[in-house]
């Protein structure tokens, strides 16, 4: 890691500028996900999933809204995944669709509780953070940077934590 600094600079530039070096060969490929993301972001904002107030209502059992959204999303997701497996539906590139199973570890409990705390404080899970910034809540950039730092610190201590 002799060139850590120059390498770091290059990489962060790429991430900040939506990775232009990648665009030449895979632009079309990744563009699809940008479109899905845009639709998803609009959906997030218009359904108020990204509203701090809606999250507070959810955790105080004062509104059905969030439960309805998560619940119906899961129902649709379950049916869709079932159909994909049942009819062996392929991707648009003809590739077989694979979903790797999740293994249980204690992190899902400890980390889950910690994320729950953060969710109720910030009123946002990671996705809504990006949408909130888009709506003009610029201070949420700080929340996002802090979340990135949290992920980094987790990576740093990962080997020493119970899993």
């Amino acid at each position: 890691m002799n060139n850590t600094n120059t390498e770091l600079e290059k990489r962060s530039q790429d991430a900040m500028c939506v990775n232009e070096s990648q665009l030449e060969h895979t632009w079309y490929y990744n563009f699809k996900y940008l479109i899905v993301g845009i639709i998803f972001g609009i959906l997030f904002v218009k359904s108020e999933v990204v509203s701090w107030f809606r999250i507070q209502e959810m955790f105080r059992l004062q509104s059905f809204h969030m439960y309805g959204i998560i619940g119906s999303a899961v129902v649709v997701g379950v049916i869709a995944v079932w159909l994909i497996k049942k009819f062996n539906i392929k991707t648009i590139h003809g590739e077989k669709i694979t979903i790797s199973p999740k293994k249980f570890n204690k992190g899902q409990i400890y980390g889950g509780l910690l994320f729950g705390f953060g969710w109720a404080m910030t009123g946002a899970c990671p996705g809504p953070l990006f949408a909130q910034i888009g709506t003009g809540a610029t201070v949420i950039v700080v929340t996002l940077l802090s979340a990135i730092l949290g992920t980094w610190v987790y990576g740093y201590f990962r080997e020493r934590m119970p899993h």
């Binding site: 993301g37 701090w52 999303a73 648009i92 590139h93 980390g111 909130q132 888009g134 990962r158």
Partner: protein, 186 residues
């Protein structure tokens, strides 16, 4: 257009969120998840010598396109589909929040307590910086967030994801009802 500008009801929004799962699978065999983007940002920007961040993040670049799209979607929704009405909330919540000085409902976040100036107050620092840290740390420790576990994982009937989702909810209930009132009173 007027219809689109109203807040979308759960029975429209929920199924559409659910359709993101097959959309990403069919478009390119991608499992729906958002918190991983934070890891890719770490891996791309500051991997240091941490093994957890040494992987070919470019193969996951799609995820960064996806979250960038969410950001643009936020802009479009705010600019083109803005709803002039304040955010509607349960009156009991409005009463409680008024007690903490939260009376502005013009934004999706409580502008009275989450803004650039409040960053320098203990309350603002806790909500913005500490809260954000817990989101990033917790989701990675849990191996996913609401999208990865609660939606993708449950869609694939993974019981570890159910454990994670229940843990998210317990954490949220404890924070919102038992701890947050003290933070908001600061």
């Amino acid at each position: 257009m007027e219809f689109l500008k109203q807040p979308w009801p759960w029975y429209i929004a929920g199924p559409l969120v659910g359709l993101t799962v097959p959309a990403l699978l069919i478009l390119g065999n991608k499992s729906f998840g958002i918190s991983s983007s934070l890891r890719h940002i770490c891996a791309s920007c500051m991997p240091a010598k941490i093994p957890f961040f040494h992987y070919d993040w470019k193969k996951e670049a799609w995820n960064l396109f996806f979250v960038f799209g969410i950001f643009i979607g936020g802009i479009l929704a705010a600019v083109l589909l803005a709803n002039q009405q304040p955010v509607g909330v349960n009156p009991a919540l409005a009463d409680e929040l008024a007690g903490y000085g939260i009376t502005s409902y013009n934004s999706l976040i409580p502008e009275d307590i989450i803004n650039w100036h409040s960053l320098l107050t203990l309350r603002g620092f806790l909500l913005i910086v500490v809260g954000g840290f817990l989101v990033g740390f917790g989701t990675r420790y849990a191996g996913g967030c609401t999208s990865g576990h609660a939606i993708m994982g449950l869609s694939n009937l993974q019981w570890p994801s159910l454990v994670a989702t229940i843990s998210f909810m317990i954490g949220g209930f404890v924070m919102a009802n038992l701890i947050l009132p003290y933070i908001l009173s600061l």
